[in-house]
């Protein structure tokens, strides 16, 4: 019998599906950001490896947003109502409503960019792994139509950049995934309106860059310098994530629920995910830029040497897994502040 005078409340409202949703939404934002950055460095499409990275990044953004959408819909008791969100989600004070609009807008921008980078002017000459969408469309006899549509709707010059930059708003807006939890005042692990959104954004950006980069290195010719620049960005965003994780941990507080969350994170079922998470971040933070550096020094402009490439891909994937585990443990270690029985 718990003899503390406290009444603990049920907390199992969300589980792994929600962690998947929160993760892929933020990863999608990070990937979109990667696509825009890679294209910005491509000298308006002249550097093919930059365009390849951008193509992978927008594809990843689109797939990630789709997975996030499926995850959130499957979690709802009424998925149809979720699909009809413009009519059903009427409370804009709620982060779920705001987040749905952000996620859907990001999906639209990611879809448009994927079309532009896989077809038409930027996709026509694509080859290697990133051209797989084009190849599939070709098999179905749809590549010609897709090329035409892409060319027709793609604005030239600054118009393209206006669209790309507008898409950055929902991409960075995936910070909402943190606000969704940070708005819950009853859970001390979550109620950090700056730290948690910052953590989810930074680690989402890290995951987005790492996923797009891992696919580029695994399936295409990767420019050594480009890989070095973007793995450094993975390292930097993971470093920021570590700092924010530390802030989250140290600001848990001494309330009963804060203490309970701390013990969940350091003992029991969540202990192993926490260790894997921390080890994964360290491996990827140090390993990815280091391997990219080795590749840069040893190879010419194009990264060669399968050992370095495979190790780099593994290191990046480990980082992505670690960023998923951040959401997983933050969700499963959540404890609601108990009620204090008056006069006991």
């Amino acid at each position: 019998m718990d003899a503390t005078g406290l009444l603990w409340l049920e907390r199992g409202h969300w589980g792994v599906t929600t962690a998947v949703y929160l993760f892929f939404a933020a990863l999608g934002g990070g990937a979109y950001l990667t696509g825009v950055a890679a294209y910005a460095l491509s000298e308006t499409g002249k550097r093919r490896s930059h365009v390849t990275l951008a193509r992978w990044a927008f594809l990843v953004a689109l797939v990630a947003v789709s997975i996030a959408g499926i995850a959130i819909l499957s979690h709802l008791a009424d998925p149809l109502a979720g699909l009809l969100f413009p009519v059903t989600l009427t409370n804009f004070e709620s982060w779920i409503t705001r987040g749905t609009w952000i996620l859907v807008s990001l999906g639209v921008f990611a879809a448009v960019q994927t079309l532009w980078f896989c077809f038409g002017e930027l996709g026509r000459d694509s080859e290697g792994g990133s051209a797989f969408v084009r190849r599939i469309a070709g098999r179905l006899g749809l590549d010609g139509v897709a090329d035409q549509i892409a060319d027709r709707i793609r604005p030239s010059g600054s118009g393209f950049w206006v669209v790309a930059v507008l898409g950055l708003v929902p991409a960075l807006g995936t910070v909402y995934t943190g606000f969704e939890l940070a708005a819950v005042e009853t859970v001390p692990l979550w109620y950090h309106p700056t730290v948690l959104p910052g953590l989810f954004l930074a680690s989402g950006v890290a995951a987005g860059i790492a996923t797009a980069l891992a696919l580029t290195v695994a399936f295409d010719e990767a420019n050594s310098r480009l890989v070095l620049v973007f793995t450094s960005a993975v390292g930097a965003t993971l470093l920021v994530s570590v700092g924010l994780l530390w802030l989250l941990w140290t600001s848990l507080g001494n309330t009963p629920a804060g203490i309970e969350s701390a013990s969940k994170l350091t003992e029991g079922a969540l202990y192993i995910p926490v260790v894997v998470l921390l080890a994964g971040i360290v491996v990827s933070l140090v390993g990815s830029p280091l391997l990219a550096w080795i590749g840069y020094v040893r190879s010419g402009p194009v990264m060669t040497g399968w050992v370095v490439r495979v190790s780099l891909v593994v290191s990046l994937v480990v980082g992505v897994v670690a960023t998923f585990l951040i959401r997983y443990v933050v969700l499963l270690a959540a404890v609601k502040e108990p009620l204090v029985a008056v006069g006991v």
């Binding site: 005078g5 409503t97 009853t186």
Partner: protein
């Protein structure tokens, strides 16, 4: 707010018999396990042999500024202007369970349909009912909330808060007025151990 309805609870009179919780289940036809619009908890503190325990009967507190309504994306939760009762419209609820996190008292419940259900102060019967009901004070034959009606120790009362204040001790009234929590429940200070079969016997004798 034209009127605010809520609860009065005296833990000194509660014998922990769960009659209120069962009456609530029966009234609203809520028979699923783990779905409790009202529940009774026994809370202890101290170490043996100096243990103190009390019983708490708990449901939705019909908060003045309900956090559950703020987070609900579908706007399914309403703080009614007419009687201050917080209702949930199950036709609008999408079953996201966000309200479950936001409520500090564990009031939102989810059945096998995944939709939110909770105490509606017996505006009407059944999950999600009462949304379009007239104000409690304006109803022709208002249902007397089953929990209070069936309470063996007369520990639980329901009514407009100003009427419930007349029932409260000075300490309880002051505590309610001074409280930062915007919950609509007046709780008497607990003054002893919760082994209160004497209250039950007293009531049965009456």
């Amino acid at each position: 707010m034209s009127e605010q309805w809520g609860f009065y609870f005296d833990p000194n009179r509660c014998i922990g018999c769960h009659a209120c919780a069962i009456a609530c289940k029966n009234r609203h036809g809520v028979d699923e396990e783990g779905v409790d619009w009202r529940r009774v908890e026994h809370v202890e503190s101290g170490t043996f042999p100096d243990l103190t325990g009390t019983n708490i009967s708990l449901s939705c507190m019909h908060c003045a500024d309900p956090p559950c309504a703020k987070v609900c994306p579908a706007g399914a939760i309403e703080k009614r202007e007419s009687d201050g009762i917080v209702t949930v419209d199950q036709d609008a609820c999408i079953g996201c369970h966000y309200c479950g996190w936001a409520c500090p008292y564990g009031a939102p419940q989810y059945g096998s349909d995944g939709l939110m259900q909770k105490c509606n102060l017996c505006l009407d019967t059944g999950p999600g009912s009462g949304v379009d009901s007239p104000a409690k004070q304006d109803q022709e034959r208002p249902l007397k909330p089953a929990c209070a009606d069936e309470c063996v120790g007369e520990a639980l009362h329901v009514g407009p808060m100003d009427e419930l204040m007349d029932r409260a001790s000075q300490k309880a009234a002051e505590a309610f007025r001074d409280s930062d929590d915007d919950v609509n429940i007046i709780v008497e200070p607990f003054s002893g151990n919760a082994d209160r079969t004497d209250v039950a016997e007293e009531e049965t004798a009456d």
